[in-house]
């Protein structure tokens, strides 16, 4: 009997600890408190923690409670689960960076009929499925990468593109931008792009030859390995381009380990710490950065206007006819000089950019 009691007390303790664990979290994240609006990213990368700062700043200004969710695996299935649960929890507007937006149109249309949906970073290709889009013009940002190549890589050179997954829309758009710029416009690039889409490498774009597109399933170690293999296989490759945030650091590591620093031009995308360090040290010529802080900030401001039924919310001068608000990308290089091939791109030096970024990340 005594043993029985002791065991029962163990069980009671376990149950209590479960209950307690539920309650203790209530202090920090306010159990039962309902968010007014929600922001759902497309994965859990660092990029979105900067966007989160933006949502927090806007939340303070608008006095809204914002739930910020990052799906750990980055699938549309997880996002759908978040949205369904948030709707039941009573959120009044959602900003989301949809994974696979093209095939979720019907789903988003149903949601958008009930509460405002704002597409962030990846647009939803239907005007009824979202109130507006906020994000980077990825084709234009890809063209900025193309301009970096034109400026820093001699014509006639071979180059390779690295990106996490090609079934992501921004990866496709960025790559499209890069090759369109090199070929000197969409018309000139058409045939080569079809060849590229069929994986019939190498493909000529203007004065440059694309050796291939290496994917790594968003795994930095895999990217590094493939970059090393590229350097061994193609002794004459002159430029490596990384289109997702972790690609440039992985490429840099590979180039350094193969002792090819100075021989191969590295061009990046996004603002990974290692990428910025590489630019400062002269190993990476430049990177094209987006402005995730303003993705977050502008989304929450817009949602605030929409749920308060302000007619001016969607009446903004920076919105185009397709209801898209493009948040301008920038080229970051070592000294901030606008070089001839950059044309009308915004350029910023790495040091001031980096110190502001650190502030945003609270470092």
């Amino acid at each position: 009997m005594r043993r029985w009691i002791r065991r029962l007390s163990v069980i009671t303790g376990l149950v209590a600890s479960i209950l307690f664990s539920g309650c203790s979290s209530s202090d920090s994240v306010s159990v039962g408190e309902r968010p007014d609006v929600a922001f759902i990213s497309n994965n859990a990368h660092e990029f979105w923690s900067i966007a989160k700062k933006g949502t927090e700043a806007a939340a303070k200004e608008t006095k809204l409670k914002v739930a910020f969710l990052m799906p750990p695996q980055g699938t549309s299935e997880e996002q759908r689960r978040f949205i369904e649960d948030l709707m039941n929890k009573g959120v009044r507007a959602i900003a989301i960076s949809p994974n696979d937006s093209a095939n979720q149109v019907d789903f988003f249309r149903t949601i958008n009929n009930r509460i405002p949906v704002i597409a962030v970073d990846n647009d939803i290709p239907s005007p009824e499925a979202r109130r507006c889009y906020i994000g980077t013009d990825n084709v234009a940002a890809g063209r900025a990468v193309g301009k970096l190549i034109k400026q820093h890589v001699p014509p006639g050179s071979k180059f390779m593109i690295f990106v996490g997954k090609l079934d992501s829309q921004n990866a496709q758009e960025r790559r499209l931008g890069v090759v369109t710029e090199l070929a000197g416009g969409a018309e000139n690039a058409k045939e080569s792009i079809e060849k590229m889409n069929r994986n019939e490498y190498p493909v000529k774009f203007g004065d440059y030859e694309l050796l291939g597109t290496m994917t790594d399933d968003a795994d930095q170690a895999v990217c590094r390995r493939k970059a090393e293999d590229t350097l061994t296989k193609y002794g004459d490759v002159k430029c490596l381009v990384g289109l997702w945030a972790y690609n440039p650091p992985a490429i840099l590591e590979a180039v350094l380990s193969q002792k090819k620093a100075g021989e191969v031009v590295i061009i990046g995308f996004d603002e990974n710490e290692e990428t910025l360090k590489g630019i400062r040290e002269g190993h990476i010529v430049g990177t094209v950065v987006q402005d995730p802080y303003n993705f977050g900030y502008e989304s929450v401001k817009l949602m605030a206007g929409l749920i308060q039924n302000e007619p001016s919310a969607l009446n903004r001068p920076d919105m185009n006819a397709a209801k898209q608000i493009f948040i301008r990308h920038r080229i970051i290089n070592k000294d901030g000089n606008a070089l001839p091939a950059y044309q009308d791109e915004k350029v910023e030096a790495v040091d001031p950019f980096h110190s502001r970024l650190k502030e945003l990340k609270g470092q």
């Binding site: 994240v29 309902r34 695996q73 699938t75 549309s76 929890k89 009573g90 696979d100």
Partner: protein, 343 residues
């Protein structure tokens, strides 16, 4: 029943916590969503559980889901399959064979043929796994781990890394496999799961075949010496598991309207195995019950919902789920021991 009493208690605790967490959690809409998710996850947990009971394991479930969803999407869209990029007689014949196969049935016009074809592919994968494990005696862990890589690679190659979506087409199929609420207002995935569950219960607990499954898992040699055709039953378990994974792929495609060759189904095997093991299946084989599987799956589905309804930061979600599962498993073990001592 006694074996899963701890789990039932744990599920009840989670459910009560969920109801208390937020008024939104009590809505019928939330219960509908939960039902749909339990149905989906339940289907693969059922396959994984039956296999685990025979002492087997399948790590390729997620990749089979990805392959089948991608394949079905491509067949329905009438996409052209890529050629193998190798020269030589063998590959020319193989490519010609693929073309012949592609021209065999006009799948976009006969969507049911596509679904049956995909289920057959699932069956074939299970058959290959089963044969390699029983006849060639390669460890199941190795066979299916290699399958995990191979099938993921095939779906990516086949789809050329493009998302394969269905657009607005095949509304009838989507109704039948996803959106219809014609059966007592239940989500369709739950309806399919309940049907499969009934079949599995009869098979596992009321027929001699189920007895054999348990016998093989508990002591394969003893089962073979008592005249059970062990290889045949083990192969059957692999076939059931992979076929259910293929069926999950069908349901997934109809629900999500698209398949991402590089990520659809990632890590699903772990959820399936977790659901089965949590539900009382022993990884050593020979133990488990269909009822336990349902409880295990329900716990796995309820926890993320609870985490969101509580407003726990999504970064902590996995920790909360893992911690809660560990608590549940401990609670279950302790209660079981109490039950045994008292007898």
């Amino acid at each position: 029943m006694k074996k899963i009493i701890g789990l039932i208690a744990f599920l009840a605790i989670i459910y009560v916590l969920l109801l208390a967490a937020d008024p939104g959690a009590r809505l019928a809409a939330n219960h509908f969503n939960l039902g749909r998710r339990i149905g989906l996850y339940g289907i693969i947990s059922l396959g994984a559980g039956m296999l685990i009971i025979t002492g087997g394991i399948d790590l390729s479930i997620g990749s089979v889901v990805g392959l089948c969803a991608t394949l079905l999407a491509m067949l329905l869209r009438g996409d052209r399959f890529p050629r193998f990029p190798f020269k030589g007689w063998f590959f020319e014949q193989l490519n010609a064979g693929l073309d012949w196969l592609g021209g065999l049935v006009n799948f976009p016009e006969h969507p049911w043929a596509a679904i049956i074809f995909v289920l057959l592919v699932g069956m074939a994968i299970g058959l290959v796994n089963g044969l390699l494990v029983t006849k060639v005696r390669v460890q199941a862990f190795v066979v299916t781990l290699c399958g995990l890589f191979i099938y993921r690679g095939i779906s990516r190659f086949m789809a050329e890394d493009q998302v394969k979506g269905l657009g607005n087409q095949f509304g009838d199929l989507k109704t039948i496999f996803y959106s219809s609420e014609a059966v007592l207002g239940l989500p369709m995935s739950l309806v399919y799961f309940l049907v499969l569950l009934a079949l599995a219960t009869v098979f596992m607990h009321l027929s001699i075949h189920g007895r054999y499954f348990f016998a093989i898992g508990a002591n394969e040699k003893a089962a073979r010496y008592s005249g059970v055709p062990t290889d045949r039953y083990k192969i059957l378990a692999y076939v059931i598991c992979s076929t259910l994974a293929a069926f999950y792929g069908v349901l997934y495609l109809m629900q999500e309207n698209s398949a991402q060759p590089s990520s659809t189904g990632n890590f699903l095997e772990l959820y399936a195995i977790a659901g089965a093991v949590l539900g009382g299946c022993s990884l050593r084989g020979g133990e488990g019950s269909v009822g336990g599987l349902v409880i295990g799956t329900s716990i796995l589905v309820l926890l993320p919902n609870l985490s969101l309804m509580l407003g726990i930061p999504s970064a902590l979600e996995y920790t909360v789920i893992g911690g809660a599962l560990l608590l549940g498993a401990t609670l279950d073990e302790v209660l079981r021991r109490v039950g045994q001592k008292d007898r």
